[in-house]
Symmetry: C2
Subunit: 420 residues, 2 copies
């Protein structure tokens, strides 16, 4: 089945807005085992839209159109869809009632323009939009089935996932439940991940697709599955999930929609524990991620950021002679910080960058120390790369060391990104 | 002149990579006064590419193709361009020599595959790539002139800006120098900016285009100019720049490629001054931005991040009874922090969020205080919006208050985003 995506709108055409709607749709379709073979972008212009509808209707079996369903004069999708399909526009009474109810629930009268959003090509299939005023619809143009979706990202995402993809899977004769299982790992590069799982891929049924996406320094490993029921998906995915967990081992940080920082904060919260951090040359990212994940502010006591060890120390009122970068200093600071802030955990990450610190071939020494009531653990490492890379890598390594400590995993397991 | 952009590659087609090359190209073309009227995306697939070349060659005057110039078998652009143009591939000797020299300068022998990158359609126009191994070229297909550019973003950006756009401007008969003048402001919303400048737009010559791009909480105001020489651009832009500076006044943070945080750090560095910060509920963004802008680490002493006033204070060793949110507390903390860290400036930003803090209709009270040797100044405000919005807005407001203090501007001028 040849599927095309047709994005409309001047903001997208002129590059003012980056077209993330396209990449979202293409990714979700690919993950559902469907193949996107063509993408088109045109502006809010009658001639271009008509030509794009006609050409896509000759090339494809299915066309997903995004945008142009709003209430203003430059929203042309319904009108041109009707004309390309050779039918009139027709009022969809039920949607008009819903629009009116939507406005009256907000104490407003529906502006007359919005009636346009309830005018659909005669004979088209209505597609519900539970969270917006632009409904979708499907209609045949040329040899293709066209699905029209709203340009507002969250409305488009929900409609594509819940309504368009199941319809496409039915058209292909495939079954209609899909699931995306995600593993987030740190320490395994994409090529080694591929290597680690290369004997797994041939064992997977055709209904499960394995894929990777690198969000440095994390790697996302995805299993996209299609089946006839949730229980069938459970059964089909279980062995593959199990294999990934075995092969990736301690490098799996979290799964699905969870984040590493949220996992840490939740774990500490459940244990009624608090934490303070101190970081040098990791760009303030450690405190940034933890403080933002700590939604009720009960876990993260405070974070101190500086570019110099002695300034880190003096800011926290740690009186000391001149401190040298190294494991002893990091451990000392962690213990002192824990006492000073009266917290259960203190995390210290010190990064010593080489002078030419934005050269991709330069490197950095890193020491992470974590103090608890019982002990002080440390994790030294050396990473290579430019400044941004080192900031991100050392932040991830510090948070990962804390996760490993919280779950009794070895904190000094070597990872792919460090110099051995 | 009808211009199309044709992006090739499976990574783009399947949505694995977001197509920022497209938006960059479309934006640059629009800014140069050129009009993009169609965008196409196809994968590394002979049939789709041939069809895309043929259809674009029928619709457009100019087609910019991106990607497919690499050395591997799935890089098909040269081969299919030749076949669509009805010519053979021909070795470009000079480029082959350059490729060989490139490899030998790195102590390597050129892999035989790379010869492919020097095979161009016979009679095509060579386009140099000073920073990569994929040269560009131009050739006629159908009624259109096709320009082929590499997929690597920095190579594409340079080739489009330095070589493709000047050629297109020549084709249109327009002159060939372009400039993009940018103003970054804080405190003026896009609609008010539009209002403030609405009488300016009609006065601008056709060769200058005014545009806005919102990067909340900053607004970017752009003057895209085309002319025959740099001095002509200087003369044409000067009155428009002057008008924008007058209308936006103190709200202009910085211009062109400078950032607010870099401006602050540079200003402090020139004055041999240092700074420490303390922030509550701004997500750690203040210290994050300053520490990252302080490239040599000589200005930013340290930053403390917490969700609670008393924890902020105790972390910095400020002994105090229970502190209440408010102007007095912020000023007290700023003075104490300055003494404690022995810095020239201390910046404190306290944000008190309402309990339902991720509701777009909730709000936050903000107090910013800055202590110097001579004085302590403060800036209270109230912002509305969700958590992310409040974090970004309060961070910008704190850095802006510091900028205003450094340049002797009023620090409590009301802005559009605050509740009056």
């Amino acid at each position: 089945m040849k599927i095309e995506i047709l994005c409309t709108g001047d903001e997208i055409l002129t590059g003012k807005t980056v077209n993330t709607n396209y990449s979202y749709m293409a990714q979700r379709l690919t993950e559902a085992g469907l193949q996107v073979h063509w993408g088109t972008t045109v502006g809010d212009d009658k001639q271009s839209l008509s030509r794009a509808f006609q050409q896509a209707g000759e090339r494809a079996d299915v066309v997903i159109v995004n945008g142009g369903l709003g209430p203003t004069v430059d929203d042309l999708s319904q009108e041109l869809a009707a004309s390309a399909a050779g039918v009139e526009l027709e009022l969809h009474e039920a949607w008009l009632e819903k629009l009116k109810a939507f406005y009256s629930s907000r104490g407003r009268v529906m502006p007359p323009n919005n009636i346009k959003q309830a005018m659909l090509p005669a004979g088209s299939e209505f597609i519900d939009n539970p969270i917006g005023t632009a409904c979708g619809f499907a209609v045949d143009i040329g040899r293709a089935r066209f699905f029209f979706t709203p340009g507002v990202p969250r409305e488009m995402r929900r409609m594509v996932t819940e309504q368009v993809i199941p319809r496409l899977l039915k058209l292909t004769g495939l079954e209609v439940v899909t699931r995306l299982k995600r593993f987030h790992s740190f320490g395994i590069g994409e090529s080694r991940a591929d290597e680690l799982l290369k004997d797994i891929e041939p064992l997977l049924p055709d209904t499960i697709k394995l894929g990777f996406q690198s969000h440095f320094p994390q790697l996302e490993t995805k299993l996209a599955a299609v089946g006839s029921s949730e229980s069938e998906l459970d059964a089909a995915l279980a062995p593959a999930e199990q294999m990934i967990r075995e092969r990736f081992g301690n490098c799996i940080l979290c799964e699905d929609t969870q984040t590493l920082e949220a996992l840490i904060i939740e774990t500490l919260r459940l244990r009624h524990a608090t934490i303070a951090t101190m970081e040098m040359n990791s760009g303030g990212n450690i405190s940034n991620r933890l403080v933002n994940a700590d939604t009720d502010g009960s876990v993260m006591h405070s974070g101190i950021v500086s570019r110099h060890i002695n300034q880190l120390a003096s800011t926290a009122g740690i009186t000391t002679d001149s401190l040298e970068f190294g494991i002893d200093t990091a451990c000392h600071l962690a213990q002192q910080l824990r006492q000073h802030t009266n917290t259960d955990y203190a995390l210290v990450a010190l990064v010593a960058r080489e002078p030419a610190d934005d050269n991709l071939r330069s490197g950095a020494d890193i020491v992470i120390a974590i103090a608890t009531e019982q002990q002080v653990v440390n994790r030294p490492a050396r990473l290579m790369g430019g400044r941004e890379w080192i900031s991100l890598g050392s932040t991830e390594m510090a948070l990962d060391a804390l996760r490993r400590l919280l779950f009794d995993l070895p904190i000094d397991e070597k990872i792919d990104f460090e110099q051995q």
